[in-house]
């Protein structure tokens, strides 16, 4: 029996990026503290703006979640808004918000006839986050989740989310 080892080949690192930038250019000088700070300021402004725009979107989500029965349009609107907010919230560091809406999105996609009680719980959770100015991060967000909605947390666990 012959032992054939899988063929693995190494190709030298590509220096195309360095060549195009120029060998004399020191990247640490290009991205100096000033440049990094200016770029970070843009992110901070985006964070603040997001809080304002997100408020209205989240309020419309809460309103739909409190409806007695979801229509197809409601469902579509919920999915679209959740998708949009989740992406931005995650990128900008609003963890509680992104986790909640990600979970809601998953629930709506996997459940053809969503349970009214569960939807109300999601609405409550969104309200708590909205009230806390959406500034809750990691440990704080977990605390909010556990304090405000133990039933929903239980639901997350039982559904393996």
């Amino acid at each position: 029996m012959t032992d054939e080892k899988p063929k693995v080949e190494m190709i030298g690192p590509s220096k195309a990026l360095r060549a195009k930038i120029g060998h004399h250019v020191n990247m640490n000088e290009v991205f100096n503290e000033d440049a990094i700070e200016r770029a970070q300021n843009i992110i901070e402004v985006a964070k603040e703006d997001f809080l304002k725009t997100c408020k209205h979107a989240l309020e419309s989500v809460i309103k739909i979640l409190h409806k007695d029965a979801l229509t197809d349009i409601d469902r579509k609107k919920l999915l679209q808004t959740s998708q949009q907010i989740t992406g931005e919230a995650e990128t900008l560091g609003y963890e509680a918000l992104s986790t909640t809406l990600h979970s809601l999105k998953k629930y709506l996609k996997n459940t053809p006839t969503p349970n009214e009680t569960v939807l109300r719980k999601y609405a409550d959770l969104c309200s708590v986050i909205l009230q806390s100015n959406q500034k809750a991060h990691s440990a704080e967000s977990r605390e909010i989740l556990q304090k405000a909605l133990p039933e929903l947390v239980e639901y997350f666990h039982s559904s393996g989310e």
């Binding site: 360095r18 930038i21 440049a35 970070q40 998708q83």
Partner: protein, 212 residues
């Protein structure tokens, strides 16, 4: 400002201006934000794609020096739009369009489009997704940028790509940057232990060879 300083600064600005970056993200606001951040850092040529399908098209149309992509690259919540994109993609490239960052990167690395297989790729992933990170690494990304984004980390990743590019590995089931990168410094005393273990193994092999 001294006269000597001006040309050097110009050189630096021009250096980044030559680089074309493709930003792929389903979220328009994030695409815009990334564009603003990169512009502030000195980049001038930035192209955008909404999803993997568009990303592949952009990569085939022009030379891209660096790709920054999100993990979540769903085509659209609009089913009709999604169906149309899937059909168009299938007729143009064959197969299903990439619907997440990993399949997008794999598509590039497999060389199925006209894109450069070696193009450096930074992938942005969520903060608590270890599976995603492994998946991204195995798809062939060069760098992973954890969310929430911050400019310092973004710059670090770009500097890594420029100053510390990794060799590429080609094997039966992987094509991409070598995944063994980190050289973890050994704790105090560990280096000596490691040397000792190597010596013992060498001695054992010698014994076997000599039949001792």
């Amino acid at each position: 400002m001294s006269e000597e300083h001006i040309p050097a600064k110009r050189q630096i600005t021009n250096a980044l201006a030559r680089i074309t970056i493709l930003v792929v993200d389903s979220n328009e606001a994030i695409r815009e934000l990334m564009g603003k951040v990169l512009t502030e850092l000195g980049f001038e040529k930035i192209v955008y794609a909404e999803n993997g399908y568009e990303g592949i098209k952009k990569l085939s149309e022009r030379w891209i020096d660096l790709v920054i992509t999100d993990w979540d690259l769903h085509i659209s919540d609009d089913l009709e739009k999604e169906e149309y994109a899937k059909e168009t993609f299938q007729s143009e490239w064959g197969g299903f369009p990439p619907n997440n960052g990993a399949s997008f990167v794999k598509f590039i690395r497999l060389g199925r489009g006209k894109a450069d297989r070696f193009v450096p790729i930074i992938m942005m992933t969520g903060p608590v997704e270890p599976d995603v990170v492994l998946h991204a690494r195995d798809s062939g990304v060069n760098e992973i940028l954890m969310k929430p984004i911050d400019s310092k980390n973004l710059c670090k990743r770009i500097i890594n790509l420029v100053d510390r590019p990794r060799p590429f590995v080609t094997s039966e089931n992987y094509f991409g940057p070598c995944r063994r990168r980190k050289v973890i410094p050994l704790e105090k005393g560990m280096q000596e232990r490691r040397v000792m273990v190597v010596e013992i193994i060498k001695f054992q092999k010698y014994q076997q060879r000599e039949g001792l």
